[in-house]
């Protein structure tokens, strides 16, 4: 998983499909990121912030009881223990530091369920940056508590009333607003998506997951896991963990939600500044994704994943909502870790694949991308048949 070409292409995917008004900002960002990422001081500051503020390194946990149940050796990379409860913090800390380095004083972001919005508001608070988060109006109602969290953190949350009023529209709106304030404002995209340099930059910021995990597995005596499994919405946690194992023999598995399976059901297209695989109708209109987990409700996938799928270097699979709840329950009960519903997709696939695509005796690294606290009310309603 090297850098993309100069135009931000991973094979035929990626690139920069944005209005001319934003191109200078994308170019500036590209240059700024290259400069920062090559500057040992910046890199050290980024890692120090993640360590002292973000809770890194997150541990790798051997899941003994799950392993026994499945006939595998399963290790979990515990992004659920990172500040704000998921891997999202890695990216926002990087982008917030970069924002300050570029001399910008404000950060905007899109959010679906609110995870990335909360993380962005958090990093902005920490660095004293102003912060505005765009969130589909539908989501502001569904996730009112996360709206309140962002407000507590000093951010302004703007309900987006355009289109389907959900995540993809929040991205559109953030892009539109970015046009108006690009001089002093950085747009902090929440996954490995958007125009170059975002997919690459976000992957670089998230690669700390995989780099740490590889070292930590060595401490457990695991040279190379047979499988590295992560859930995929836009694909940032997957890209981050894959980055530590791309050069190994590990099989990389990205698990999408069946209702948002851009690799399984998507076609090449252009959205949100990138060429990638997208859910579309017969006329190239973007379809809404549907998943039990808001964080996987994205009709596309990061361009690098589309490329890895093309290459065959990573495999993308999908699981339905039905098995996700069971997976969440099983991990909770066996290991004392309530995973996020997003993460539970990866667990669900593993439960299904154990003894089959994942042969008995295999060593598996599961990226535990986030904690389930945000989801327990929803899971409770579902289990009670209330929704």
């Amino acid at each position: 998983m090297g850098p993309p070409d100069e135009g931000g292409h991973f094979g035929s995917f990626g690139g920069r499909f944005v209005p001319e008004a934003l191109m200078p900002a994308c170019l500036e960002l590209d240059a700024a990121f290259r400069d920062a990422w090559g500057d040992p001081d910046f890199v050290a500051h980024y890692h120090r912030t993640l360590r002292e503020f973000g809770g890194r390194p997150t541990p790798v946990t051997y899941l003994g009881r799950l392993s026994q149940r499945l006939g595998l050796s399963v290790y979990a990379k515990r992004e659920d223990l990172a500040h704000t409860g998921s891997h999202k913090i890695n990216n926002v800390v990087g982008q917030a530091l970069l924002t300050a380095r570029m001399g910008k004083t404000r950060i905007i972001a899109e959010t679906g369920a609110g995870q990335h919005g909360v993380a962005t508001a958090t990093a902005a608070a920490r660095l004293g940056l102003a912060c505005t988060v765009y969130m589909g109006e539908v989501d502001t109602v569904r996730q009112a508590l996360n709206v309140f969290r962002m407000e507590l953190l000093g951010a302004t949350v703007v309900p987006v009333t355009s289109g389907s009023r959900t995540l993809k529209d929040a991205v559109n709106e953030a892009m539109r607003e970015w046009v108006t304030c690009v001089g002093d404002t950085h747009y902090c995209i929440g996954s490995v998506m958007g125009p170059h340099p975002f997919p690459w930059m976000v992957r670089e910021f998230q690669s700390v997951i995989g780099v740490e995990a590889a070292d930590q597995l060595h401490e457990f005596g695991v040279e190379t896991p047979d499988f590295v499994v992560a859930c995929v919405g836009g694909g940032s946690n997957a890209a981050g963990v894959f980055a530590g194992f791309a050069d190994t023999t590990a099989q990389l598995i990205g698990v999408e939600a069946a209702g948002g399976s851009a690799v399984g059901r998507g076609m090449p297209g252009v959205l949100h500044g990138m060429r990638s695989l997208l859910l579309q109708d017969d006329h190239g209109q973007i379809e809404e994704a549907y998943s039990i987990s808001a964080g996987l409700d994205y009709p596309g996938i990061g361009p690098e994943h589309a490329y890895l799928a093309d290459l065959g270097r990573a495999t993308y699979v999908a699981v339905g909502d039905d098995v996700v709840i069971e997976a969440l329950q099983l991990l909770s009960e066996l290991e004392g870790i309530i995973p996020a519903l997003e993460t539970a997709h990866a667990v669900a696939w593993l439960l299904r694949a154990a003894g089959d695509e994942v042969p008995t005796g295999s060593t598996v690294l599961l990226n535990l991308s986030g904690r389930g606290d945000k989801d327990v009310a929803q899971v409770r309603s579902i289990l009670r048949g209330e929704s």
Partner: protein, 260 residues
């Protein structure tokens, strides 16, 4: 040089160009609105082909696009309408890249050309990603109109000036489509375009009133009027109402003498 280039240079010799924007398929009789506008003095018609995720459009055009999409409008249906209507002035399609990408680039260019469309504006197709489309479009004699933004540094203005066909779309402000109170940064943008190329330069993004059009025409070669008209149609205006509106814009522009 595409056919659009030739036609717009010709317009420039005569008057300031008036480019009203219509959403294809917004109403079943949308082409009658276009005809009314032409009657009232439009020089070019911009026809929006709706996309679900219009990154460069504000609330008015978003709402119009959603309504049109609910009418099952497609690239093909709009091209069909345009072809049937056979307008006397050049038609430029405004759409997002995915619409063309999905239909197939070469296939789209051929369809547009066959329907009598002279050019396209694809706001999310930056010059960096332009080549595949431009090749097939140029081969089909479909011009690709490029935009210069207030944020474009001079070297980009130069490259855009060299690549654009038909006209240069001078964005009056750092904003998406919508109504505004003035012509914003348009003069600065047009001035910088003038230093790099001689292509007709039309001012758009926020042009709402005839006075603004007149202001813009003082330095530009024409104006694009979008949200202001779409809002009227969304509010229930008839083709005749639109004819009236376009007339007032026409008059305002004609108050300004042509440059050339």
């Amino acid at each position: 040089m595409t056919t659009l280039d030739a036609r717009l240079r010709d317009v420039r010799t005569r008057r300031k160009a008036l480019v009203p924007y219509f959403i294809g398929g917004l109403t079943a009789d949308w082409t009658t609105y276009v005809s009314a506008a032409i009657l009232a003095g439009a020089d070019v018609i911009e026809v929006g082909v709706p996309f679900s995720d219009p990154m460069m459009d504000g609330p008015v055009i978003q709402a119009g696009a959603l309504r049109a999409l609910a009418n099952d409008v497609t690239l093909e249906s709009i091209c069909h309408d345009v072809s049937v209507a056979s307008f006397e002035v050049p038609v430029v399609v405004m759409t997002y890249y995915n619409v063309l990408h999905h239909f197939g680039l070469a296939r789209s260019a051929e369809l547009l050309a066959a329907s009598g469309v002279a050019g396209v504006i694809v706001p999310d197709l930056a010059i960096e990603e332009l080549t595949p489309w431009r090749e097939v479009a140029t081969a089909a004699d479909v011009a690709t109109v490029l935009m210069v933004a207030p944020s474009s540094p001079i070297d980009r203005v130069r490259r855009i000036g060299a690549l654009t066909q038909g006209f240069v779309y001078a964005a009056a402000r750092m904003a998406v489509t919508g109504r505004a109170a003035d012509v914003g940064d348009a003069e600065r943008v047009v001035t910088s375009i003038r230093t790099v190329c001689d292509t007709p330069t039309y001012v758009g993004i926020g042009i709402t009133t005839p006075d603004q059009a007149s202001d813009a025409a003082a330095f530009g070669d024409g104006v694009i009027v979008g949200s202001a008209l779409v809002q009227q149609i969304l509010d229930g205006a008839s083709a005749q109402d639109i004819e009236g509106s376009i007339s007032t814009f026409r008059e305002a522009l004609d108050r300004t003498a042509p440059e050339a």
